[in-house]
Chain length 301, copies 4
């Protein structure tokens, strides 16, 4: 969250995006889009406070006793106007206003203010309450503005994007495991509860359907374990314990894969294939100029 | 899930498995077994949709209000026929039809369609309900078809297979820990609850037997923590907290072992297959010039 | 917790902090602040016992039946006097007594004894009970003294400090995810429960407000999963299961980042402090002969 | 669990422990203590079955309806006699019988049989029921025999032993965190519940004492999350959510440390300081005979 020396890539990107034209527009761009001037840093701090306040107000609205508090309504309008001004300023000082408006962040910025105005025009009639609520819910995307403020956001998005294959693999593995173990447990619990009922033991199975059993399996495999759906028969508990252990053992493997993906390209900070032409030593840092072994000049591909 | 450049090994395997004979059989093989042609990719997408739909229908059948829905029955039959056609086509265009039929995936493909036909022949008489249900449950293995569609499936299976020793170690450690801590807690809770009862404190121990206590220990050690079985006496809670911490500390170690196994062969800059031609030692650094075991010159591939 | 050979840095720091003046002051310093003499080691063991006893007494005070136990009160005063003597001795034998008193550990040492004296002067009148309680709570900081006794405390603090950016990133990611998924689930559960109510199904939503839903999301995403707030509608459970899986997949990424940060500087064979004399580049492989940045010959220490 | 080629160290240890004297004694030693002959492998399989059966019987004894089953009693005696024979045979064919009897595994083997005989002599009088139960509980240590059968047991014990410092650090960090957050939550929940009570909201705090609150903190920090103790006030939930996130972030750091410890010395399988005398290359495998870079003979320290 603190300003840091921009990387060359960020510097180049910035030069491409800086608007042309009058100096005031360039200065305004630096304040709003960058964080490495005192004014820009101050702007970011202000925005941070506004976003956090907005989330707090947004949440408080639904708490019993605060539904109709006037100060929340007023605060909400004050913040909407602030975010509107921010949106307009970003539009003005972007190099290509239209392109900004259609970009991911442009849409998020629009979503930050639109719901309040829409809710105002739809009115408070009880008939449109449902639509109103859904529209107002969109204000939650204001929290996404926090993401933009992180210096590491780019790096993190890249890492998630790079690990997308592994995440799909992970989700597929979980889906297969959840479906099979959910169906099995539904069958076992339904069967064994019926047997127990004949013994005048009047417990009822929590596994009322396969989707419910799959919900149980998801909650269990991720080790969340709410406890709202639990096996109640002895056989059910035994199979459940075995499934937990098996699932836990198997899930370590794809989890390790994702970690390996991140560690592979990151922690070690070395390019395994970055080889010295002279002595064929590998494993140089990505920014190496000289071979660490023979001292020869490195040639980047 | 997207087509990617096949590895040399996959390419070789494919050449071995491609059927001989008329070109239509080879083309059909490419569509059904491979994903790197437009038709093969389309086939895979279609199969993916069919599998997901099948799981949804299969689950919905057990939800209250949908048990006898006609559209589910019809959809089920439609999918069964689709999967039957797929099975027959795979049989036809495999190089060795019989070998395919007996392979793991051949059996899974058979299991995808057999239960529906069996259920049809067994009939809906209430007497055979239990057998019927168990048979129909086998349809869940359709979800395994998802696994085959993953490019990474091979890699993941290999990793799990390579980590099997570590998983057995992990399970043994857990079994020892679960047995000891379960028995201890059963003893403590039963004893202390009796003491409390004499003080007219009428709580009842959740630890009704050692298997129940072992179920508790499993659920706790894997950090699932349902909360259906919890210690209720003060001493029980203290020992339980100590066991949780101890178990948590100890479980990090085998978990780290499994991670190390995956990372060892993958992330860190060693080539597991970089083998010395003379003594067949493996695990050399990627930039090794000499075999560390016999001292012979290494030849890079 | 055992005495180990001090690192050169610790040795230098120690020389800077050792008091000047009469030998008895230097010897006392060695006993109290260091652990590598028999007397110093004994002092540390005694302190360890005192701290653990103090935590036990402090906790027992709140247990039903022990509130007014005289032996707890007496033990408490005994420990307070011990800690007071320790504080005074530390003040005396520090090189700069005033600087110690204002340091982090000086304040912790003061907090260890002040509350007891304050509580004595405030008196036991029922009116000031609340203030009294809050003041006495400060004694819990005695447990921080354990931290100082760890040899690894410095290393760990450094690691946490070095990973602070990653932790902020992690918290921001969680905050964004918690806000969005909490709001979504509040909306869905409230809506669907209303629909169910019209069907005479009288369950009540646990998601009474957005803060409550955000509490649920936090408890769920960290896989704690108390189960006091759970989705009860079918749609709610489905979305919840999807959110759990998504959140679990996404959280692996920043967790991996933090691990990578720790591993990056620690486990993998790089010496973070292996610095080039010419250009001061760090992070060379342990067997580097030439600086990878400027090509100068490296001199091993 | 399968026989594998013994490492040189294991081979040497074996030569030292093999008994002298008549060949039958040496052969018996190989069968009982080693697993690399068919007979020894068969012995191990038999022992494995006996241990698992013993655990099953031991657990079943406490299940309602099986307390007085004769077949369990008989099976128990049968196994006790088997284990007794095993113990005597181990005594006979050990090189130093007395040293074996006093070793860790010797004591475990004794504990496997002693309780049954003791229970027999103490008798079934209701007076000595408590002692009897505690004595019989000791049979649970039979499960430890599983540990000895693992090839990886040595390696794992070494890893745990090597990570003991990190585990102590981890436990200290958790103890500090648990004490501080437990006391804080006890204070907050007690206070806020009192405030709520004045509003006629008759919920009762789950945080009845500081030990109870510390139990909550332990269960929460390890992400077990039973849900038997949960915050019920709004402020309590907010602070609790903050503590969970903070605790979760902080706990990643020592967890990463333990992983780093394991990875550092293990996964990479290299000794960072194992340097070639000729070219000063480091990072050789621990069993390297030749330098991988210059091909020179390696000299082990």
């Amino acid at each position: 969250m603190t300003p840091s020396k921009p990387t060359p890539a960020a510097e180049r990107r910035r030069q491409n995006q800086r608007p042309e034209g009058p100096p005031w527009r360039q200065q305004m761009y630096d304040v709003i889009f960058e964080a490495d001037t005192p004014a820009g840093y101050g702007f970011d701090i202000g925005l941070l406070v506004a976003i956090i306040t907005s989330i707090v107000l947004f949440s408080l609205e639904t708490v019993e006793g605060y539904e109709d508090a006037v100060w929340i309504k007023n605060g909400e309008w004050f913040l909407t106007i602030l975010f509107s001004i921010e949106y307009v300023l970003r539009l003005i000082c972007s190099r290509h206003s239209f392109r900004y408006a259609l970009s991911f962040w442009g849409i998020i910025d629009l979503f930050s203010v639109l719901p309040s105005y829409l809710a105002f025009f739809i009115g408070d009639s009880s008939r449109s309450l449902m639509i109103l609520r859904s529209v107002r819910l969109l204000r939650v995307f204001r929290v996404m503005k926090l993401w933009r403020m992180m210096n590491e956001a780019d790096e993190l998005s890249t890492a998630i994007w790079r690990a997308r294959n592994k995440i799909v693999v992970f989700l597929t593995v979980v889906l297969v495991a959840v479906t099979i173990s959910g169906s099995l447990m539904y069958h076992v619990e339904t069967l064994m509860t019926n047997v127990d009922e004949q013994k005048k033991n009047d417990t009822e199975s929590d596994f009322t359907s396969i989707p419910q059993a799959m919900y149980w399996a998801t909650v269990t495999m991720t080790t969340v374990g709410y406890g709202d759906v639990v096996p109640k028969t002895v056989i059910g508990k035994m199979i459940s314990a075995a499934l937990i252990l098996l699932g836990y053992s198997l899930i370590i493997v794809p989890t390790g894969f994702v970690s390996a993906e991140i560690l592979g390209g990151k922690a070690v900070g070395k390019e395994p294939d970055f080889m010295c032409d002279v002595c064929e030593a590998t494993g140089h840092p990505v920014d190496a100029h000289y071979c660490y072994r023979c001292g020869a000049r490195m040639h980047h591909a």
